[in-house]
């Protein structure tokens, strides 16, 4: 036994816990004021806030290309998409707050603490083609994951996901259209989009997280119906959807082991380089430091706006009350 006591795992009332698990099994929706095990609350707060942080940090790699979009149509699409990502972050923060942690605290944990976000946003957007590939592969992978989460047992999370899924389809379609356009363009354009696919393919597969056998939180999340499918099942679904899409626009995926299993209909793929995944998660991806620095800078430089709006509201509150 360790001598230093960690915060004790909460002991739950076994009757209430059994009732709760029965509700999850029946597919009922858990709402904010319902009884829930402390671990469910903690796991969801972790998972949902990570998801919200990911949406917001996801604005950075794409925002990088807004000023250099090749034409007005693409620029309008990209601005709208980046704005959507900010909105998605807000939907999920709002859902997370219903579990009892203030948004300011969640953002604080992310900017100055140990909260994580999706590993994918720690890769750089080197060329314009990366914008298309992010929409097609990264948003495509996100849709596979979020379509499942739209059935999550926690009501506010599921409802946020339904809203997000409706909007993500635009993200994926605009990205795929962009890739298709480059793929049938000049040899240089085709080479540029193929290079972007080569760089983003494996990180996209890593978005689904570790193998099921190595995923520390999966068992609880599956038992409590936060997740309905395992990381590996979702990853396989994404590969199966994406391979024909790549073939249709004449691009290849950088995996010599990729082949169709006639018996199952699944596209079998090679082993992911988990040392790369672990390095990025640990903070040593190509862009980790730059991303967090950019987010801190934005947050700190926006402080005066938040303070001014609060001061204005305090000053005008009595007058507004009288006018009502």
């Amino acid at each position: 036994m360790a001598t230093e006591a960690k915060p004790a795992a909460p002991t739950e009332d076994p009757v209430k816990l059994a009732e709760f698990e029965a509700r999850c099994d029946r597919g009922e929706t858990i709402e904010p004021k319902d009884w829930m095990p402390e671990k469910y609350r903690r796991q969801l707060t972790r998972m949902m806030s990570q998801h919200a942080h990911s949406e917001v940090v996801g604005m950075l790699p794409e925002g990088n290309w807004i000023t250099r979009a090749p034409n007005l149509r693409r620029k309008m699409c990209l601005i709208a998409k980046v704005q959507d990502e900010g909105g998605h972050g807000l939907y999920i923060y709002c859902g997370t707050e219903t579990l009892g942690t203030d948004r300011a605290e969640l953002i604080d944990q992310y900017l100055y603490g140990t909260a994580k976000y999706s590993s994918i946003f720690n890769y750089p957007t080197l060329t314009w083609a990366d914008i298309g590939v992010i929409g097609w592969l990264v948003d495509g992978a996100a849709i596979v994951n979020q379509t499942m989460l739209a059935h999550a047992s926690y009501g506010p999370y599921a409802r946020a996901m339904i809203r997000i899924c409706k909007e993500e389809n635009f993200h994926k379609r605009q990205g795929y259209e962009l890739c298709a356009t480059l793929a049938r363009g000049t040899p240089a354009q085709k080479a540029m989009v193929q290079d972007a696919v080569n760089r983003w393919w494996w990180p996209s597969l890593m978005m689904f997280g570790p193998h099921d056998t190595n995923s520390p939180h999966s068992a609880d999340l599956l038992r409590w119906k936060v997740k309905q499918k395992s990381n590996d099942d979702l990853r396989q679904r994404f590969v199966n959807l994406t391979v024909p899409q790549a073939q249709a626009i004449g691009l290849t995926l950088p995996d010599p082991d990729l082949k169709l299993d006639q018996a199952t209909g699944d596209w079998k793929f090679g082993e992911i380089d988990w040392s790369e995944f672990n390095a990025v998660i640990a903070g040593n991806g190509p862009m980790n430091r730059e991303r967090i620095a950019a987010r801190r800078k934005a947050h700190e430089e926006g402080a005066w706006v938040r303070e001014a709006a609060a001061a204005y509201a305090a000053k005008h509150q009595p007058a507004a009350g009288q006018a009502a």
């Binding site: 807000l90 859902g95 300011a104």
Partner: protein, 100 residues
């Protein structure tokens, strides 16, 4: 304004209700933080109506909402649940009458 860790101030929370076109009722969409009602409306518009989802928006201070308690849901809603005679299926129609 509540104060979070590191003295980070958080604006008050507002619940957002959107009315879809076509005479639909207002429906809860989510929440926003805002320092006052006017900015709450603008934030709600930017967050919840980017695709023509609404013709009308309500924002309500979250603290102003009074909700039934989940633990009491059984007895609280019981008066409405034990009266099957309020549903048309409770009544029999003579055999052969199909359109009613």
């Amino acid at each position: 304004m509540s104060t979070g860790p590191n003295g980070v101030g958080e604006w008050p929370l507002w619940e957002v209700f959107t009315q879809a076109p076509g005479g639909k009722p207002h429906e809860h969409a989510g929440s926003v933080h805002a320092p006052d009602a006017e900015i709450a409306l603008q934030n709600a518009r930017d967050v919840y109506t980017r695709r023509g989802e609404a013709v009308s928006l309500w924002v309500v201070p979250s603290g102003a909402i009074v909700a039934s308690a989940p633990g009491d849901a059984g007895p609280f809603f019981d008066p409405g649940n034990d009266k099957p005679y309020r549903h048309p299926q409770f009544y029999k129609t003579p055999r052969g009458v199909k359109v009613f």
